[in-house]
Symmetry: C2
Subunit: 264 residues, 2 copies
């Protein structure tokens, strides 16, 4: 545990960045302490933003999942996916509107809503996420476009996705394919990379000293905070356990069993 915790001097944060799977729920399973925590933030009017690497769902779909399966009632403004962060970033880069998308229907919908034009050839960007319906032809088109100079952007680095079938290939496996056939490194948007953090904090209109990143996954949530200079709160309700962070140079600011131990 950190010295802050030992001395019981816990900073008050003006805003919370909160991971979803493993932190607020666990697959289809509820985490009641997290539901109470979110309710407290709402009652006290403390700003928060759910920050997720999952680029296969729109903000509306994430919102509806939270409402219908976890009794968490938030607006779309409380959701920030790696797809949304990617599109915010592409707008800032301002080098074109034509995007070749390797991704699922929800991502394509977000791309169009954000004012980009989806193309099959000669794009300015290749935006690659997890696509569980991908074909060789689509990967070939992405490969040739990147070789011709399209900017290669990947939503998130997750190599696997936990499902009832097992750990199926994630966005990171498709990225590895495209890296191999193009010899190009993508810009990766999602946690633990900084782009999603920058975008989330910008949306919150807070300074990074005033926010804290809450998550269960050391390699994504906690390192995203550490690398971006944001305090971190690791909960042991999901993926990472204490044994996983033993001896790591970069430690979370706070570690808790669950969110009932935290006072907002």
């Amino acid at each position: 545990m950190s010295s802050d915790q030992e001395e019981n001097i816990i900073k008050k944060y003006k805003g919370y960045l909160i991971d979803l799977d493993g932190t607020v729920y666990k697959g289809a399973e509820r985490i009641p302490t997290a539901e109470i925590f979110v309710k407290e933030l709402q009652d006290k009017n403390i700003p928060f933003l759910f920050v997720t690497n999952n680029a296969t769902k729109t903000a509306t779909e994430v919102k509806e999942n939270l409402l219908h399966n976890f009794q968490i009632d938030v607006t779309e403004d409380h959701i920030y996916t790696s797809a949304m962060a990617a599109l915010d970033h592409l707008k800032e880069l301002n080098i074109g509107k034509k995007v070749l998308v390797v991704g699922e229907a929800s991502l394509k919908q977000e791309v169009q809503s954000a004012g980009f034009e989806m193309v099959d050839k000669d794009p300015d960007f290749v935006l690659q996420a997890l696509d569980r319906g991908v074909t060789y032809q689509q990967l070939e088109a992405a490969c040739l476009a990147i070789q011709k100079g399209a900017t290669f952007v990947a939503t998130n680095p997750d190599t696997n996705l936990p499902t009832e079938k097992g750990f199926i290939p994630g966005a990171g496996a498709l990225t590895a394919f495209l890296k191999a056939c193009t010899q190009k490194e993508p810009l990766i948007i999602g946690k633990p990379y900084p782009t999603i953090m920058a975008g989330a904090i910008k949306r919150m209109q807070l300074d990074k000293e005033d926010v804290i990143m809450v998550g269960d996954n050391y390699n994504t949530d906690i390192l995203a905070g550490v690398h971006y200079g944001v305090d971190t709160l690791m909960v042991l309700t999901g993926f990472s356990q204490l044994v996983d962070i033993e001896g790591k140079d970069e430690q979370p600011t706070y570690i808790l069993n669950d969110l009932s131990e935290w006072e907002v």
Copy 2:
């Protein structure tokens, strides 16, 4: 050029391992000096074996391509693909007959002809080659099988395939995908790896000191020979040029502009 060449003492070899694309032909284009070279080997009854990383064609298809497009008339016994080498190796390993194949129709045909059973689940091996019709579902099945302990075998490491469309993704890009989602290293069969060399020399029933590897690609053909302890002859009719091997520690035994400069 090597000291052997300078001193003009050229060893007589009892057998030739010969690459195809870039060495015997170049895509659809003829290399007449190579055709004459093959004819000389046939006239002098010198054993030779075409050794190719391409695992998308059967030996019969390769033979027919040589006959119809390049007037080279050989039997299937003169063809050794990375698919054939993989199957020879799987037989030697002798740890099962059930194979999940990520590959095209010709590979599947070779797998069945070699006495293996093709399965979708619980294979002993995953045999992965280039598959220009691959889907996410097939890659997912391969990923889950490798995670469960199936031996991961890749026919060849080529990340790209030159076509009229450009450098499309090769077998190596699919391997990168499966490596990323399994965190497992495959056994790679094709050049420059040793398995295909061992299999080819075994088929020729010659000692490795008595054969020479002829090819145009430094990174595959020449390094395959160098690493396996087989003399090498690099021709400048295909992919690699002199500038590509400048300063390399491992040099070909001989370098020629084309095969008209070689006496069998």
